[in-house]
Amino acid sequence: MLLGGGVALALLWAPEDADQGASQRIFYIHVPIALTAYAMFGWGAWKALRLLGKREERYDLESYTAVHMGVIFGVLTLVSGSIWARASWGVWWDWRDNQLVLFLILFLFYSAYFMLRYSLAPGASRANISAVYALFGVVLIPVSFLAIRLAESFLHPGPVVLTRDVGENVPGSMLLTFCVCLAGMLALAAALYRSELLGKRVDARLRELREALA
C-alpha cells in the first residue's frame, strides 16, 4: 500500500522536475531498489548471526528469505540500472558504473548461496553453512566496493568521472519524493519478505504435521 503511494507520488511529483528529463525519474526507482537490496542482505546477515548465536531454526528460514529478497531486488537493480544507463548514455552496460558492477559481483555471490543450499541436505549443518556464507556476503559488499573504486585507475585511464545529473542542490521536492520511494520500496520488500516467510512456515508446519501423523 505504501509502495503504491510511493510510486504514485514519484511518478506524479516527478513531472515537477521534468527539466532534468524523463530518464531522471528512474533514479527514484533504481536507487531505492539498490538500497533495499543492501538492506535485505544486511538483514539476512543479521539473522544469520542470530542463528549462529542461538541455533534456533527459525533464523535459518528468516535469513534465507532475506537473502532471497536481496537477490530479487539485486536483479531489479541491475535491470533498472541497465535501463537507466541506456536512457542516460545510450548503452545497456557501462563498466564505469561502480554501483552496477558491485551488484553484478553480489549477484554472482548470492546466486552461489542458493547453489550451496541446494547441494546440502536440510538440517542444522546447512543452516550453519548458509549463515556463515551470508556473513561473508555482507563483508564482501564494502570490500568489493573499495576494490572496484581502486580498479578504476587501471581499467579506465583518463577522465573517469561518470555521474548523472542528480543535481548539486537537491531540491526539497526531489528529496521528499526520493524518501517516499525509498520507504515504499522498503515496505514492499518487507511485505514480500513477510509473505514468503509466512508461506514457508506454513509449508514447514504442514510437513511437520504430516510427519507426525505418519
Binding site: 559481483i105 556473513l135 563483508v139 570490500v143 568489493s144 580498479a151
Partner: protein
C-alpha cells in the same frame, strides 16, 4: 597458545604428508598453470599493454581453485573430519592447518609460474611478488573455508568455483593493480586489508562450518 600452534602444526604436517603420499594435487597444479600460460600466449593475438599480467592473475586464481577444490576431499569423503572435530583441539586449527598447507602448495607452484611468465612474456617487479604473497593469504584463508563448505555437499567440483570466484574478484583487482600500476602501494594495502578482514572472519566462523 602454544598448544593451539602445535595442533595447527600437526594438522599442517598431516596435509603436507597426504600430498606427498598422494602426489596428485601439486603436479596437477603445476601442469595446469604452465598450460594456462601457454594458452594465454595464443589468447592474446595482439600485444596489449598489461593484458598478459592480468592473465597471470587469472592463472593464479584458477590454479589455486584447482588445489582448493581438493582441499577437504579426504576429510569429507572418508568422514575423518568428524574425528578431527571431536579432538580437543580448537576447530579453527583444522582450518589454519589447511591454510598453511594450501599456501605451501601455491607458493611452490608460483615459484615455477613466475619465472615461466618472465620467460614467456615479460619481467615482473617486486611489487608483483609482494602482491602474489598477499593474495595467496587471501586465497588460502577464504578458499579453505569455502572448500570445507563445498565438500559438505554434493557436486563439490561444480560448487567450488561458484563459491570462490566472486570472492576472488577483489583479489584479482588488487593483484592486477599492483602489477601494472606505477605506484602499487594502494593495491598492496588493499590486499592486506582483504586478508585481514576475511582471515578474521574465516577463523571465527570455521567452527560453524564443520560442526552441525
Amino acid at each position: 597458545m602454544t598448544g593451539y600452534l602445535r595442533d595447527v602444526a600437526a594438522l599442517a604436517r598431516k596435509d603436507l604428508l597426504l600430498e606427498l603420499r598422494g602426489r596428485d594435487t601439486l603436479p596437477a597444479m603445476l601442469l595446469f598453470v604452465v598450460a594456462m600460460l601457454v594458452a594465454f600466449r595464443f589468447a592474446l593475438p595482439r600485444e596489449v599493454e598489461g593484458a598478459a599480467e592480468g592473465l597471470l592473475w587469472v592463472a593464479i586464481v584458477f590454479t589455486a581453485l584447482l588445489g582448493l577444490t581438493r582441499a577437504f576431499v579426504p576429510e569429507r569423503e572418508q568422514g575423518v573430519l568428524d574425528a578431527l572435530v571431536l579432538a580437543p583441539a580448537d576447530r579453527s586449527a583444522i582450518w589454519l592447518g589447511k591454510v598453511i598447507a594450501v599456501f605451501a602448495f601455491l607458493v611452490a607452484v608460483e615459484a615455477i609460474a613466475v619465472p615461466a611468465f618472465w620467460i614467456f612474456f615479460a619481467p615482473l617487479g617486486w611489487a608483483t611478488v609482494a602482491a602474489i604473497l598477499l593474495a595467496n593469504v587471501g586465497i588460502c584463508t577464504v578458499g579453505a573455508l569455502l572448500a570445507a563448505m563445498a565438500a559438505a555437499g554434493r557436486a563439490r567440483e561444480l560448487l567450488m568455483p561458484l563459491l570462490f570466484l566472486p570472492l576472488a574478484i577483489p583479489i584479482v583487482i588488487g593483484g592486477v593493480g599492483a602489477t601494472v600500476v606505477a605506484e602499487p602501494g594502494r593495491y598492496l594495502g588493499f590486499l592486506a586489508l582483504y586478508d585481514a578482514v576475511f582471515a578474521i572472519l574465516a577463523w571465527a566462523t570455521f567452527e560453524y562450518v564443520v560442526v552441525e
